[in-house]
């Protein structure tokens, strides 16, 4: 489904910049193509520019520079109500003075649809979010989750090809959020619509999206499918922002092809790593290892480096064990191991050797 080819792009940001005050850029040189039917998530900390991008796409903000194209047409100067884009807001934005059915009827009325057609579409939309019997209620009589379903239904009822969602699940509790995550992706796929989804919750981004654009400081740091993003972060920001991550600071001691040796600043110990953002020996680097990719007392190749670690804490978490270690002078090194019958349980103070496959340890920008 994912398509990044600009010739078939449905939504396209072309060198878009945005500044509110004329002094600083909130969005810096954004280039992004979204394919038809794609579920793209804009992920990033607050202030990273992701919501501004969404608002520019919706038409509530104008780009300071650059072009935004929808289905090949430039839409910079088209007012929001003519763009035909559905939108779901964080606070649902259901009109409190209308019933659920009236809320859904609103976009159909302004499109001057006949009554029977409206009723039919409203019913279909409500059924789609399994709220068929709630047409007569007022939004205030609904729970947060129900309101969000209605908001979704309303954004879809006029059958837009593109739907924007601005942190739609931000106000809900965890359990409900997971249910709705699933439901949103289901509906999106069922209808074959293109979704641009904004969130600061990485789990949400990973579980729902075809592709994720990680935003920071007004730029896309990495645009990739969730698994790529997790396993092959392109820089240390992405590595740290997505998932749990151990970092160690050092200098490249040896670099050859897809393998390098990094000497750690703290202790001078050496480790193996995959060079990602390092180009020559002597470069400063930050190596990143996922906690679940670390092995205890590893049996690796003869040239492989290992590190000595001291167990600080051993936490039982049910499906996994979480071991906090003191490694290379840092005491926040985490290792996750599956709860298997034969898994050793360490005691604090115990000294052990740890190691990893070189490709699991990525040498990134400092």
């Amino acid at each position: 489904m994912a398509s990044t080819d600009s010739s078939t792009a449905f939504v396209e940001f072309d060198r878009v910049q945005k500044s509110y005050d004329g002094e600083t850029l909130v969005v810096k040189d954004l280039n992004l193509s979204i394919g038809k039917g794609e579920f793209l998530t804009m992920l990033g900390p607050s202030g990273s520019g992701k919501t501004t991008c969404l608002m520019m796409l919706a038409g509530f903000e104008t780009a300071t520079h650059g072009e935004i194209r929808l289905d090949g047409k430039e839409i910079n100067n088209i007012p929001p109500h003519k763009r035909g884009i559905g939108m779901v807001f964080q606070n649902y934005a259901l009109f409190p003075h209308m019933t659920v059915a009236e809320n859904l009827s609103f976009p159909l009325e302004v499109r001057k649809l006949g009554k029977s057609e409206r009723e039919q579409k409203i019913k279909r939309a409500l059924d789609m979010v399994q709220m068929g019997s709630f047409g007569g209620r007022r939004p205030t009589q609904l729970s947060g989750g129900q309101q969000q379903r209605i908001a979704l239904a309303r954004a879809l009822v006029f059958e837009p090809e593109l739907v924007l969602m601005d942190e739609p699940l931000g106000a809900l509790d965890k359990q409900l959020r997971e249910t709705l995550q699933f439901e949103i992706t289901r509906v999106a796929h069922d209808l074959g619509i293109t979704v641009v989804y904004v969130t600061h919750d990485q789990t949400e981004a990973l579980t729902m999206s075809d592709r994720v654009a990680v935003f920071d400081d007004g730029r896309i740091q990495q645009l990739a499918a969730p698994d790529t993003l997790y396993e092959q972060p392109q820089n240390s920001f992405v590595a740290q922002f997505i998932g749990e991550n151990n970092t160690l600071r050092g200098k490249v001691a040896k670099l050859s092809g897809d393998h390098c040796v990094v000497r750690l600043d703290e202790t001078g110990e050496e480790i193996d790593a995959l060079p990602v953002n390092v180009t020559r020996e002597g470069d400063e680097t930050l190596v990143s290892i996922r906690p679940e990719r670390v092995e205890f007392n590893p049996e690796l190749g003869p040239d492989a480096h290992t590190l000595t670690a001291e167990v600080l804490e051993f936490i039982y978490m049910g499906d996994v064990f979480r071991t906090r270690l003191k490694v290379a002078g840092r005491d926040d090194f985490i290792v996750k191991t599956r709860n298997r019958a034969d898994q050793t349980r360490f005691a604090p103070g115990q000294k052990i050797q740890i190691g990893w496959l070189p490709q699991d340890c990525r040498a990134l920008d400092p």
Binding site: A58, G59, F60, P79, P80, H81, K82, R83, G84, I85, G86, M87, F89, Q90, N91, A93, F95, P96, H97, F106, P107, V110, R111, Q130, M131, S143, G145, Q146, R149, R154, A155, F158, L164, D173, Q175, L176, T179, F182, E183, R186, H189, D190
Partner: protein, 586 residues
Amino acid sequence: MTDATTGPDHLTGPTPDNALRDADRAEARGGGSGGPGDPVLAADGTPLKQSLNRALRAQKLRALALIAPLLLFILVTFIAPIVDMLFRSVENEIVVETLPRTVAALQDWDYASGEAPDEPAYRAMAFDLMIAAERREHTRVGSRLNYETTGISSLFRKSGRGVDDVGEVYTDQFVELNEAWEEPATWVTLMASEDWQESHSEWVAAGEAAEAADEDFDDLPPRFEVADRIAEILPETAGIYQAFADTIRTEDEESPAEEEPWNVVYQALYDDLSGQLGSAAETYAGPGADLLREAATAVPDFETMTVTDQMIEVDEDWAEPEVWGTIKAFDGPYTSGYFLSSVDLQKTPDGVERQPEGERIYILLFERTLFLSLTIMACCVALGYPVAYLLSNLPMRTSNLLMILVLLPFWTSLLVRTSAWKVLLQQQGVINDVLVWLGIISDGGRLVMINNQFGTIVAMTHILLPFMILPLYSVMKTIPPSYVRAAKSLGATNWTAFWRVYFPQSVPGIGAGCILVFILSIGYYITPELVGGTTGTFISNRIAYHISNSLNWGLAAALGTILLAVVLILYWLYDKIVGIDNVSLG
């Protein structure tokens, strides 16, 4: 793509909140061990309901104690005056209190007969008026009745001076018969009970002792008591003499033993002696028996003059049935007269009638007050809505600055603001000058913009505008911009998004602003007084007139009560039509 967990969340399981509530309920149910019909018991065995009430009562008392000062303050300064106003609008005790004998004597008289009442009414009036004049209350009742019938004020004032002479014809004849009748002591001996004479002697002795010791002596003489024996044979005389004694005691701090009785006392004595009971005086054996017997014998030969004639001699208006009719119409302790006047009716001796055409003013003023208030309210909405919208959508810094401009009028004296409008609007004023200078109007055709309804509407709209803007602003401030965005994203044009989505949500602010402005303007008084001329004044200007000028507080209270009722009715209507939940001040 189907899964058991995809149903609406209220079906899939309890939210944390629901779970907590359920747990609470379960716990409450589990508190008692009995069956479903048994009362739930608390830990110490008392019924749970009872111990809950006890716990809540303490809380409520504490809460009450906290608000007690405010409650008291409101009761004293707000509720009490309103109750007092309601009371005044019907209160009419002054007539029956000042003229009790007359009111009683008029019971059987019928105004419809077209004749003035008989002698007893005149006699009662003479007695009442004499007492009232001595207490200087007659002019008050005169003013009161003058509200209803023109001329009664001076009738009472004049009669208060002339009523002294009623009965003089008999005084002269009694004194001629025996000079002892002129002596206060004679009367005291004849009339006073023994108890009183005793305490009076003590009082006299105390006074003399104090004088001898050169001390101040301010004690009042003892209250006069008529002897029973004399009250039986001279009931009229006893009554009026008692009144005479009481009056000089409280008004002049004198004892009847030193004051010659009023002429009406001699009138009463004559009436008693010449009446049916006169013969009883023959058998009287108490003190002063000889004198009384002598008088009783002589009375039939006295030269007579009816009280009716004597009163008409004081003022010929007493012959007018209308005067008596007015007194009779207002003889109750409560009256609907003020309320009737408030709606251009009047209570006449013939019953309720409409005011003559030239005096109908209150209905017109009520209508005008409502009309102008509604117009001002509408102007405030029209002008205030865009301002409030702008305020709530501007960045904080700018909107604060604008807000100061909105509030600026509050910091200027009302009088100054209103006078400024005079300078602007008058015919030689700034606006007219500019229009003439621009050539839009000729010098001779200057617009009349003040001292009429236009002036009132302009000035009041300006003064009340903040009361519209503030609630509107505070409501609009709470409408998130995402609603309008949502509407636009759903395909609504700017206008549709405003009209169908934004506006309905700002209605509570409009409601609150309208209620504030309307209620304030309906009772406004200074501004219409200054710029309203004759056609732009409100009912409150008449209320003010009756409070501070005509002193007809009863009518002012009735007008105020009606105004209050109108406001309450409109408020109720608003609740019915729009719903009072649809009012928000923020």
